[in-house]
């Protein structure tokens, strides 16, 4: 339930006033946001969980600024990134430099988005179990154990899916199938 299309559908229903859809959306993105912040917090006083909750509140309060003709995840990560920078600013420290340059470079942002779309297209060729495992562990940044827990699979199952998925992608890129 966490593909761009699913999330966007929940968002749009929520904007129409569907409370259940809105809650489902927030529940679905909470682990994605936690993983996003965990990868970027490092040491030094920032709590991924706090940032995640703050971002959920912001997403709720600012939901009218979502433009339904644009991707939901881009909008969501733009808010998450803003909250991250804001948190670093309050600490009077600068965010990790690679992250900052990502944000400053408009071109970089756009190519990151289109790269994400390329990745989505490639993953679309894989069986859903493998693409989901790859997406969660390699893109969202969950650990194998975390993904196993949220998906109900065993850890070895997740590892095998990741392995086969990568092999499938490599074969695809070599043009073998």
């Amino acid at each position: 339930m966490t593909s761009e299309d699913d999330l966007k559908m929940l968002m749009i229903d929520g904007l129409r006033g569907d409370r259940r859809a809105h809650e489902d959306l927030l529940r679905a993105i909470a682990p994605i946001l936690t993983a996003y912040f965990r990868r970027r917090c490092g040491s030094g006083g920032l709590e991924p969980e706090d940032l995640m909750q703050e971002t959920l509140i912001a997403i709720h309060e600012k939901r009218a600024t979502f433009d339904a003709s644009r991707p939901f995840t881009v909008w969501m990560f733009a808010i998450a990134r803003y909250k991250l920078i804001d948190a670093y600013r309050k600490l009077k420290r600068s965010p990790p430099t690679e992250e900052l340059s990502d944000i400053l470079a408009v071109e970089g942002f756009e190519s990151a988005v289109s790269a994400r779309m390329d990745v989505d297209r490639l993953l679309g060729f894989l069986p859903s179990k493998q693409s989901e495992a790859l997406r969660k562990t390699k893109i969202t940044g969950l650990s194998v154990a975390e993904h196993a827990k949220t998906s109900g699979l065993s850890e070895s199952d997740v590892k095998i899916s990741v392995h086969r998925g990568l092999k499938g992608l490599a074969a695809r890129l070599r043009g073998e199938n």
Binding site: L15, R16, G17, H22, E23, R27, L56, I79, R81
Partner: protein, 213 residues
């Protein structure tokens, strides 16, 4: 707080959202802001007593057109920057168009005018007050935009502030055109632009502080 409790609390607060929220709110802000700027002008400076006559001349419309051509791309960008994932359209060029056009007209003016009168034409009667009045009249419009942005989610605060400043400056200058009796392109190009530029600078300076959320 427990995340689940938080989500339930937020869910309890769900109401249908307006799909044209950003446009509508900007429209309200600009209408109210421009209206207040106009009232300010009437109370403070009054209209140009010769306004009906001035409106027959192309200089009046050149002033209004110049302000509009600067304000429109700025406003378009502001409406994009109201959203967290919004990028301004590539507008550098569209800002250059009115500046170049009025610059061209100013060059023609200079050629047609004896050089002994150039300074008088450039400074007019009000060069020393014009930029400041434009800046003052942009105030209510800028405040309106700040109010609108309180419900938006900008992520490029300095840029959003600067472009809100350009928008407010351009609209403020348009309002000031109802009073201003000057009628040279060189005057417009210098002093109106300076007023709009001041508003942009104020916006860029205040943006990171006032647009935070």
């Amino acid at each position: 707080m427990d995340t689940n409790d938080l989500i339930l609390r937020l869910g309890a607060d769900v109401k249908p959202a307006d799909s044209r929220f950003v446009t509508r709110r900007l429209f309200i802000a600009l209408s109210v802001g421009s209206g207040l700027a106009l009232i300010l002008l009437l109370l403070w400076q009054g209209l140009n007593p010769d306004l009906a006559n001035a409106m027959k001349h192309r200089f009046f419309w050149m002033k209004a057109g110049y302000c509009l051509a600067l304000g429109a791309p700025a406003l378009l960008s502001v409406s994009r920057l109201a959203r967290p994932d919004g990028q301004p359209p590539r507008i550098a060029l569209s800002f250059a168009v009115p500046i170049l056009l009025v610059g061209l007209i100013a060059a023609v003016e200079l050629v047609l005018t004896p050089s002994s009168q150039w300074l008088a034409m450039w400074l007019g009667h009000s060069w020393s007050v014009c930029p400041w009045r434009v800046l003052a009249l942009s105030g209510p419009i800028f405040l309106g935009l700040l109010w609108a942005f309180r419900a938006f989610a900008p992520t490029q605060l300095r840029l959003a502030g600067a472009l809100a400043g350009v928008s407010a400056g351009a609209l403020g200058a348009m309002v000031y055109g109802l009073h201003c009796p000057e009628s040279s392109a060189l005057f417009l190009l210098t002093w109106y632009s300076l007023g709009i530029g001041l508003a942009a600078a104020v916006g860029a300076l205040l943006g990171p502080r006032l647009l935070r959320w």
